[in-house]
C-alpha cells in the first residue's frame, strides 16, 4: 500500500468506490435490494481480494507474474471439498461450534496444501526463469495445464459439491432485507485478512522489507537482506491465501469444478491491473469495485454483466494508465 510520491494517502479511489455504491443505490432504487446486492458485491470483492493480493505483491516484488495462480485457488477449493466431505457429520450439525470443527480444518488444509504447492512451484517451475518474462508466461501457462489435468486425475472430472456449514446456510432477515449468512462471514473474514495484511506491512520488519523491496529490491539487497528468501515467503503466503480464497469461493458457489481457478484468473487480472500492479491497497479497492459492479450490473442489465468488468478496467486505465495506485519503481 505504498503511495507514489504524494504527500497524503490518495483518497480518490476509495471515494470512487463510495460513488459507485451510491450510484448503485440510485439506479436500483429499492434499498433492501441494494443492501442485498451490496453485501453480495462486498463478499465477492473481498474473496477476490484474498485470492489476488498475493499475486500482485509477488509481481511488485520480483517482477514475476504467475499465470498459474488459478491453480492454487482450485487446489484450495478441492482440498476443502474433500475435508468437508470427510467431516460431513460436523458440517451438517446445527451447532456453530461443531461446524467450526469442520470449517476450520477445511480452511487450514486448503491454505496449507496450496502454500506447499506454492513452495514447490516457485522452486521447480519459476526459479529457473527469473527475469525471462517470455519464458515465465509460457512456463506458468504450461504448469497450469499440467496441474489442471492432475486435478482431474486425483479428483475426477465431475463437479464436486462444497456445502456451506449448516449454521451458515440461509439468510438473516432484517425487515424486508435478506442477507445471506455466509456472505456476511465472507465479508468479516475478508476485512480481517485485509486488516492483518495492513498490520503486517506497516508495523513489522518483514512488512517494511516487502514495501522497500517492491520499490527497489537492489537497494534492499545492498543493505544486507536476502530478498530471494523474502520472495519465496511472499510467494508461499500468496499461494496459501489463494487456496484459502478458493475454499471460501467454492463454498460461496457451493460447488467446485476444475475451471474454478481459470475462471477467476481473468477477474483477478482485471482487479490487479485496476489496482495497480504491486499495490495491496489498490488490489483491495479494485476488488471491491469489481465485486460491486458485477453485482449491480448483474441485477440491472444481466446481458452486459459479464463484460462489465472489462469495461470497468478500460475506463480506469483511460483515467490512470498504471492503475489506481501505481508503483513508483526505481
Amino acid at each position: 500500500m505504498t503511495p507514489a510520491v504524494v504527500p497524503r494517502t490518495d483518497w480518490i479511489p476509495p471515494a470512487l468506490l463510495l460513488a459507485i455504491a451510491l450510484g448503485g443505490l440510485a439506479l436500483i432504487g429499492n434499498p433492501s435490494t441494494w443492501v442485498t446486492l451490496s453485501v453480495a458485491g462486498l463478499a465477492m470483492g473481498l474473496l477476490i481480494f484474498i485470492m489476488s493480493s498475493g499475486l500482485t505483491l509477488v509481481f511488485g516484488l520480483m517482477d514475476v507474474m504467475n499465470f498459474a495462480h488459478g491453480l492454487f485457488i482450485a487446489v484450495g477449493a478441492y482440498v476443502a471439498a474433500s475435508v468437508m466431505k470427510f467431516l460431513s457429520a460436523s458440517v451438517d450439525s446445527e451447532s456453530f461450534l461443531v461446524n467450526l470443527g469442520a470449517l476450520a480444518p477445511a480452511m487450514l488444509a486448503a491454505a496449507a496444501v496450496a502454500g506447499l504447492l506454492g513452495l514447490f512451484f516457485e522452486r521447480v517451475i519459476i526459479r529457473p526463469v527469473y527475469g525471462q518474462h517470455l519464458k515465465q508466461i509460457l512456463i506458468t501457462t504450461g504448469g497450469m495445464i499440467v496441474a489442471e489435468q492432475l486435478i482431474h486425475v486425483l479428483w475426477g472430472p465431475d463437479l464436486l459439491p462444497l456445502p456451506r456449514p449448516a449454521t451458515l446456510r440461509g439468510s438473516f432477515l432484517i425487515g424486508d432485507m435478506a442477507i445471506e449468512k455466509f456472505r456476511l462471514v465472507a465479508v468479516v473474514l475478508g476485512l480481517a485478512i485485509f486488516a492483518a495484511m495492513l498490520l503486517l506491512l506497516n508495523r513489522t520488519k518483514i512488512g517494511l522489507l516487502i514495501r522497500a523491496g517492491v520499490e527497489n529490491k537492489e537497494m534492499v539487497e545492498a543493505m544486507g537482506y536476502r530478498v530471494r528468501r523474502l520472495f519465496v515467503a511472499v510467494f508461499v503466503a500468496g499461494s496459501a491465501l489463494a487456496g484459502l480464497g478458493g475454499a471460501l469461493w467454492g463454498m460461496y458457489q457451493e460447488s467446485v469444478t476444475v475451471a474454478i481457478g481459470a475462471n477467476m484468473m481473468v477477474l483477478i487480472f482485471i482487479v490487479i491491473i485496476i489496482g495497480g500492479l504491486g499495490s495491496v491497497g489498490g488490489c483491495f479497492v479494485g476488488a471491491l469495485l469489481v465485486g460491486l459492479v458485477a453485482n449491480y450490473v448483474g441485477y440491472l442489465s444481466p446481458k452486459i454483466a459479464l463484460g462489465s468488468n472489462i469495461l470497468l478496467m478500460v475506463i480506469v486505465l483511460l483515467w490512470r494508465p498504471q492503475g489506481l495506485y501505481p508503483m513508483n519503481k526505481q
Binding site: 509460457l138 487480472f269 463484460g307 472489462i310
Partner: protein, 338 residues
Amino acid sequence: MISKFLSGDGPRSRILAGMLAAIFVALALAPFLFPGTRPLDVAARICVFVLLVASYDLLLGYTGIVSFAHTMFFGIGGYGVAIALSKLDVGWSAIALGAAAAVAVSLVLSFLIGLFSLRVKAIFFAMITLAVASFFAILASQLSDITGGEDGITFKVPELLRSRNAAYYMVFGMALALFLALLRAVNSPFGRVLLAIRENDFRAEALGYRTVIYRTLANCLAAVVATLAGALYALWLRYTGPNTTLDFGIMIDILLMVVIGGMGTMYGAVIGATIFVIAQNYLQDAMKAFSEAMKGVPLLPDLFHPDRWLLWLGVLFVLSVYYFPHGIVGQLRARSKR
C-alpha cells in the same frame, strides 16, 4: 528451385525434410490415400491449424510477443464468413464479402493492439490480451441475434464446395499459399528486423528501426492470416461457434503446437500441428488401450485415461520451454549440424 519456392528457408535437416515431405504428400493426396470422412477431416484440420499456428509463430517466435488474443482473430474470420453466408445469398460474393469484412475488423483491432504493445511490459500486454479475448468471447455468446450465441451458426456453402474433396483442396491450397507467403515474409528484410527486435529491441531502435511500426505490422499480418485461417475452417466445417474458435482451450492448443514444434522456425508449426491434431484424434485410442491394460494398478489408469492426453502434451510443453526452446525442429536441425 525448391529453395526459391521456400524463400531460401529450407529445412536444414534431412530428417526434418523427410518429415515435411511426407506430411506434404499425405496432405496433398489425402482424399485418395485416406478415404473416409474422418481422416479427411483430420487432414483439413491439420491444414487449418498449420496456418493458424504459423501465424502465431510470427508473433511469438519471430517478434517475441505473447498474446492470448489470437483465437479472437481466428473467430472473427469464422464469424465473418458464417454471418455473410447465413444472412446473404449463398455464393462466392458472400464469402468474399464476409472474409473481407473480417479481415478489415481484424486489421483495425490488431493495429490498436499493436500500438498498445510497445507502451507496456510483456506481462501486462499478455494479461490485457487475455481480457480482450475473453470480452470478445462474451460478446459472441451474448449477441445471439447476430452470432447465434452459444450454438453458433450453421450455414450452407456454394455448389462447388459441397463436394468434400473440392472443399478439401480449397482449404489445402489456400493454407499452402498463405503458409508460403508467411515464409516469404519472415525471410524478407522485414523478417530480419523482427528477429533483431526480438533479440534486443533497444539496440534495434538505436539502429534506426521504429520498433512500434514493425511490431504493429507483425501483429497485423499475424492477425490477418489467423482471420483467413478462421474463414477456411468455417467453410470446411460449415459451422462457426464459440467452442470451435474462441475457446481458451484452442489458445492453449496453439501454444502447445508452436512450442513443441519449434518457435521461430515456421516449420515448427507444420510439425507441431500435425502431431497435435493426430494425437487429438488417434492418440486417445492408444491411451485407452494402455489404460485398460493397467487396470488395478493405482493411479496409472487415471494418468493414462484418454481424456488426459493433454496432461502429457502439457508436460512435453513445459520440458520444451526449459530444454528445447526451438522444439522438435530445433532439435532436428541441431542434430544434423553435427
